[in-house]
């Protein structure tokens, strides 16, 4: 089959690789009909995440048709059914899964021993995302093996297009959880850094959850325009001071809720801390650039909440933790517990409350994937979200 394969920094290729097979009775094989490139894939493409190996198949936002089901998954899944696959693999039986904390499932990471060492305790297995999280083959491919498939799926009823439901596997619940874990009150101002696909979903979620004021920050004009369409007041951080504007919009008190939908590859304009981060990252002395985190800690209202869906890979430097501690900030973060939210979100899509396909700007065949990684990363051609058709 054809699949997008990681070969190193800036080097993802469309290769021919062996078809996946059932390896465990709980597995299923899915024929992918639609998949997408996620901002998290960019961290792999740019080689900022440790733990990738040459030959790894990438992609973790995908859906398709069930082709084959292992004996232990048969009661939950049938051949021919249409499913979206969540990027977090979960067992449904461990303590964490019982609490709904699927992204930290204790049993789905087959490289648990390694993860235990690196993270202290393992987190869930993820598709197409480094050997620290299991090194499972990803979904930017014609076929995928889905482990623990009796749990790891979202069934899609008829009448909805792939484009409407695909993002249930990642960015929609990610934006939703980012907003939900802020416990938004009708009086809240929610500031969201980053108007990429995750930021866009977060903006819509914060509106649906009833925020008084949603403020979105980025520097890419067409992304800001899309943020505005979704109900956000926008700040272009290249043209205005983020801190000043946020204070202005909140009567000098700062937003109650701050969301980092940017992650480890944050940009900044000629600020001292960003020069410092870039230099250290270039010399490989630091893995993540923390400009957004620093800004959030600084501007957030005391006793407010920081919600961090943006992905970080390792160590950050010069984080003003004293400021965070003294202001009594609440931190909420993590990979998304996808299946915790998807029943409700699928309902909302069906009811027509939201149509997540608004974010798609590019649809291309799988073999154009490698170029689209660059188009998406460099924000060329108005690119916001890329959908691939194997």
């Amino acid at each position: 089959m054809r699949a997008l394969v990681w070969h190193g920094a800036n080097d993802i290729r469309c290769d021919t690789v062996p078809d996946p097979e059932i390896e465990h009775p709980r597995d299923a094989i899915i024929k992918v009909t639609t998949c997408a490139i996620c901002g998290s894939d960019l961290h792999l493409h740019d080689n900022f995440m440790p733990g990738m190996e040459k030959g790894d198949i990438v992609g973790h936002e995908f859906m398709g048709e069930v082709m084959e089901v292992g004996s232990e998954a048969k009661s939950a899944l049938k051949v021919g059914e249409r499913v979206v696959v969540p990027f977090t693999i979960w067992c449904g039986e461990c303590d964490q899964c019982k609490r709904g904390n699927y992204s930290v499932c204790e049993r789905s990471n087959r490289n648990k021993a390694l993860a235990d060492k690196v993270f202290g305790h393992t987190t869930a297995g993820l598709f197409g995302y480094t050997h620290l999280t299991g090194g499972y083959a990803g979904g930017q491919a014609e076929y995928v093996r889905v482990p623990m498939a009796d749990r790891t799926h979202i069934k899609i009823p008829g009448g909805l297009t792939d484009e409407q439901v695909l993002f249930l596997g990642d960015i929609f619940p990610t934006g939703w959880q980012a907003a939900a874990q802020c416990d938004i009150q009708p009086t809240d101002t929610v500031a969201i850094w980053g108007c990429g696909p995750v930021g866009q979903m977060t903006i819509r979620s914060a509106i649906l959850l009833g925020a008084k004021q949603v403020i979105a920050i980025d520097r890419v004009p067409e992304r800001l325009a899309m943020a505005k369409a979704g109900g956000a007041i926008t700040i272009n951080f290249e043209e205005e001071s983020v801190v000043e504007r946020l204070n202005e919009l909140t009567g000098g008190k700062g937003p109650e809720k701050c969301i980092d939908a940017v992650g480890m590859e944050a940009h900044a304009t000629a600020t001292l801390d960003s020069m410092y981060d870039r230099a250290k990252q270039a010399l490989m002395l630091e893995s993540d650039r923390a400009h957004v985190l620093r800004e959030m800690i600084y501007v957030c209202r005391p006793a407010g909440t920081l919600s961090i869906p943006g992905v970080y890979g390792g160590l950050i430097d010069k984080l003003p933790f004293g400021m965070a501690m003294n202001k009594g900030l609440t931190w909420r973060m993590g990979q998304t517990h996808v299946n915790r939210w998807t029943d409700d979100l699928l309902n909302r899509i069906q009811e027509g409350q939201i149509d997540p396909s608004f974010v798609i700007t590019h649809t291309v065949p799988l073999d154009q994937g490698p170029e689209m990684y660059k188009t998406f990363r460099d924000k060329r051609d108005g690119c916001i979200k890329v959908v691939l058709k194997p």
Binding site: D183, L208, G210, M226, R278, A279, Q353, T361, R380
Partner: protein
Amino acid sequence: MAYYDRSSAGDNLARGLGWFSIGLGVAELMAGRSIARWMGMEDKTNLIRAYGVREITAGVGLLALGDPKPWIWSRIAGDAVDMATLAAGMEDNPRAGNARIAFGAVMATTVLDVVCVQKLHREEAYHRSLPVPDYSGRSGFPRPVSAMRGAASDAPIGQDMRTPRILQFQPAQSQAASS
């Protein structure tokens, strides 16, 4: 938005110049004295070391992920300073020949820098000439935003995702009272 494309031809050249800057900078810093002596300009040893630091800074800037243009411009300015220093050092210098060789080398890299920065600006101009797509109609909602605000305020969100009541900002009075 400052535009740069970290996989373009101009960018590759910029990256090459970045590595060159680091190499040259390290050499100037470590071997400042021998370089100065070779050109018959011993009195400029510390200056050459300082130029080394400047080169390394530019190199790191170029290799980092941001916009390479300001760094290439800083290299061009640096080249000018180098050439001025060399020109001044050629007077009454028995080793002026070597200084002239160095001058020629700097001039050659200046040409590369200028080519590079022109390429980068051309790429930016091309990018800016492309039409910006209009996403102002893409709300994702079936009705105006004002009608959607709070439409999901009844969503099932577990207690573990909730802020403890006392930490909620609203309504302030009843919070204080209930504590």
